[in-house]
Symmetry: C2
Subunit: 194 residues, 2 copies
């Protein structure tokens, strides 16, 4: 009834996390009312980001440059490598400004149920990075229980590099991205041997 | 920390209704992960809709053609004119398929508090349409209490065209867009003289 352009827009907006069909319609209408102030800038920002942003070949972070700005930053400690599930978790760590090492983004966690095996994750590249010799400690910041952490401990055992995990305080099954910075800082400081 | 493209995208997404800073970040990340399947199509859909969609010069509906497809549809009854606050309310009426007349979108409701006077709304064009002579009944489907409805009754008194309002069933102060179609259909059928 609304014409194909509006229906297509509502359909795509409804695929964003947290938006259902009704909220997608509200968002579409809001955008159509703010065509110049919001709709056109958002379209351009999406195209810009889609064109400019690429995964970092080293750590898996998303950035306009490869290696990403974190991998390229000479002030960061090469000896500390924090393994996260997702770029959103990397963002959460960075928001807290509590960590000045490097990251490695796995791209998920191991899950037999979802058919996610080691080949689906950036684990081979992690093993290579750690084998490179400059890493003193690997901090496993995944929060999926212990499956992924135990698997990483096995795969990295030959390197003799100590693995640690975030301290208790991180809720089991929760998402790093939703934690407040204080809890995250406490958990990082109290990390323990794996 | 994320580069200007991502920050700009998060900032614009955070201005959409219902999205705060955290959900804007989640949406941005989701889009960056689904660059080809969702991000680029959404950018194009926003640009297409922004270019193609214009307000109808007759009723204020949003469409790709002017007069809009509702105003241009010869099967609709010119004698029934439904006055709504917003295009979202017109969409709600159309979803219910309960009304086969024409619409007039005011673009808001009168509010001394918000400085919205009659000049800010599409009221002069409504008076002209009703004065045109083909309208038999004006259904005032605004839900802001009675301020706007009473003002419209005054302005349209000379036309002698009867005004009706939606029956009780519409929650006072609620939004038409959030009603289920059944409630809306009941309210339309039970409309009363203003």
């Amino acid at each position: 009834m609304n014409g194909p352009q509006i229906e297509r827009l509502i359909q795509l907006l409804g695929r964003l996390p947290g938006l259902g069909p009704r909220s997608a319609r509200r968002v579409a209408l809001h955008l159509l009312k703010k065509r110049e102030a919001l709709m056109q800038p958002l379209s351009a920002a999406l195209a810009d980001a889609a064109n400019a942003i690429r995964p970092c070949g080293s750590c898996g972070n998303l950035d306009t440059i490869d290696p990403c700005s974190i991998c390229a930053d000479p002030r960061r400690d090469n000896g500390l490598l924090c393994v996260v599930e997702d770029v959103g978790d990397l963002w959460a760590m960075e928001r807290g400004r509590i960590f000045a090492g490097r990251y490695h983004v796995l791209g998920g966690t191991l899950s037999a149920l979802d058919g996610v095996g080691p080949e689906e994750l950036n684990i081979a590249s992690l093993v290579r990075r750690v084998a490179g010799g400059s890493v003193r400690e690997v901090i496993v910041a995944t929060v999926d229980g212990q499956t992924t952490a135990h698997y990483l401990a096995e795969r990295l055992a030959d390197s003799k590099v100590p693995l640690t995990r975030l301290a208790h305080g991180v809720p089991v099954g929760g998402e790093l991205d939703w934690l407040d910075d204080g809890t995250l800082a406490t958990a990082l400081k109290a990390r323990r041997a794996l």
